[in-house]
């Protein structure tokens, strides 16, 4: 099955994942983001990073509760999509929004805690992307699953990041929360199971 997916489906999925990027790049050069492309593209890329994180969170319950069990195979791949769009979001901020102006970036990123949540999400997604290879899965063993549960923390960071941006319009923060918060609540409900699992692996690690 896995071999089948690698060979036949991958190109189509990659194509699908790159479509938002293609839309953004063409919009940029067609002037749809004029006259402040940095600001507009920052919003759009951030939305797509959130969409991919939401998608990856949805795969587990969908696989669990429906017949589409095979879609959990896509988790790592969708996660890479989230990583890619979060990096794009960061790059758009650094280059198109702040013009690589060091004083601007330092004062935003170092002095203003209000984007820390976003930065933390990017760091988590990057760490998960780096450890997403089959080789790393094998090397990390059972810890891999535990570490990769950090995606829930990244999702919580996105929610915080969005609410902290609110000037007066709450539409976007609301929509993203509607998708992420219930999934987080479901996860927290399963914590008792999670704790047991964590203790077991920790004990094993100590031995």
């Amino acid at each position: 099955m896995a071999v089948f997916w690698d060979r036949r489906e991958k190109p189509y999925v990659v194509f699908l994942f790159l479509m938002p990027l293609a839309w953004m790049v063409s919009s940029l050069f067609l002037g749809r983001y004029f006259p402040d492309p940095g600001k507009a593209l920052m919003n759009v890329s951030g939305i797509w990073a959130s969409v991919f994180v939401i998608a990856v969170l949805f795969l587990t319950p969908i696989a669990k509760f429906t017949q589409f069990r095979m879609i959990s195979r896509y988790r790592r791949f969708v996660g890479l999509g989230a990583f890619m769009y979060s990096i794009l979001h960061l790059v758009v901020y650094l280059v198109l929004f702040a013009g690589l102006n060091l004083s601007w970036i330092v004062s935003d990123l170092v002095e203003k805690p209000y984007i820390y949540a976003g930065v933390l999400a990017v760091i988590i997604l990057s760490a998960l992307a780096i450890t997403s290879t089959k080789k790393m899965m094998r090397r990390m063993g059972k810890n891999w699953k535990v570490v990769h549960r950090l995606v829930y923390l990244a999702a919580a960071c996105i929610v915080a990041h969005l609410w902290w941006q609110v000037k007066s319009d709450i539409t976007l923060a609301m929509w993203v929360s509607v998708f992420i918060v219930p999934l987080l609540v479901i996860r927290i409900n399963q914590t008792s199971y999670y704790k047991k699992y964590f203790k077991k692996t920790l004990k094993k690690g100590l031995r």
């Binding site: 402040d36 492309p37 198109l96 004083s103 004062s107 902290w164 000037k167 007066s168």
Partner: protein, 268 residues
């Protein structure tokens, strides 16, 4: 709809004016929606004639005045001012109007008039953004009387040689180039002379982020973002036009004396 015989002034002669398209399609005017393109797309229902302004409070001459009686077309002048938004972007706009002081003085403010309060039209039929409660309508703004009487403060009825487009605050708005854009209240229907500092929309919504004074000041950041730089619009496709923000938006000579001895970190 373009004005004849506008008096040219020295203000901003050396500035590179933003394109008309940009100034009329990228606006913050929540009365028509949150999006930057909403004001242009959703402001066509706004009726700007006839337009009256109610003058109240501590003044000799109060009542309801027709806009055309308050601002005589023969006295209009053009001033090119930098406009700095609190969101850290900026433009350069050639406004058409008169000095705010000349208009206010005609109402004979009394010695009790320590502040001036302004109010935007409230009419959800004409202003679809007011159907939601993103802001506490109507939009309210205010100035200390000496700020209002400063020659730099302008009451504008036009831009780029013509009457104001609806999305830019037609038919009459304030232009206060040394303050963040939200102080320059649009579509004014009420002027009230008052003794105490009036409540203003944005400082009611988030008092720790938007103060009464809201002077452009690179040394006092917004709690959530830096105010040291700004993106002068329009930006390039891949690179913005980043400009260092100046104290009082570069109008220090004209207005610094208004705030002598004041702690501007406290009175932001």
């Amino acid at each position: 709809s373009s004005f004849q015989n506008i008096v040219e002034t020295a203000y901003g002669r050396s500035e590179k004016v933003s394109p008309y398209d940009v100034a009329t399609s990228y606006n913050n005017f929540y009365e028509f929606g949150y999006g930057k393109s909403d004001p242009k797309e959703k402001s066509s229902q706004l009726q700007t004639r006839p337009w009256t302004i109610t003058v109240e409070g501590e003044a000799g001459k109060t009542g309801v005045f027709d806009l055309d009686d308050i601002i005589k077309e023969s006295l209009l002048e053009e001033r090119i001012y930098r406009l700095r938004c609190v969101e850290a972007w900026s433009m350069v706009i050639p406004w058409v109007g008169v000095s705010l002081a000349t208009v206010l003085k005609r109402f004979d403010p009394t010695s009790k008039a320590k502040y001036v309060y302004f109010e935007t039209l409230y009419d959800p039929k004409q202003m679809p953004g007011q159907r939601g409660n993103g802001l506490d309508w109507p939009y309210r703004e205010g100035l200390r009387i000496d700020e209002a009487m400063n020659p730099l403060a302008m009451l504008a009825v036009g831009m780029y040689g013509s009457i104001l487009p609806n999305q830019n605050g037609a038919p009459v708005r304030l232009v206060l180039p040394w303050k963040y854009g939200f102080k320059s209240i649009k579509s004014i229907v009420k002027i009230r002379f008052v003794e105490t500092m009036p409540e203003t929309t944005w400082s009611l919504l988030a008092p720790s982020e938007y103060g009464f004074y809201a002077n452009v000041n690179p040394n006092v950041d917004h709690p959530r973002w830096s105010q040291k730089q700004e993106r002068r619009l329009p930006g390039g496709v891949l690179f913005p036009n980043v400009v260092e923000t100046k104290m009082f938006n570069g109008y220090e000579e004209d207005v610094a004396s208004l705030y002598a001895g004041m702690d501007l970190k406290r009175f932001y």
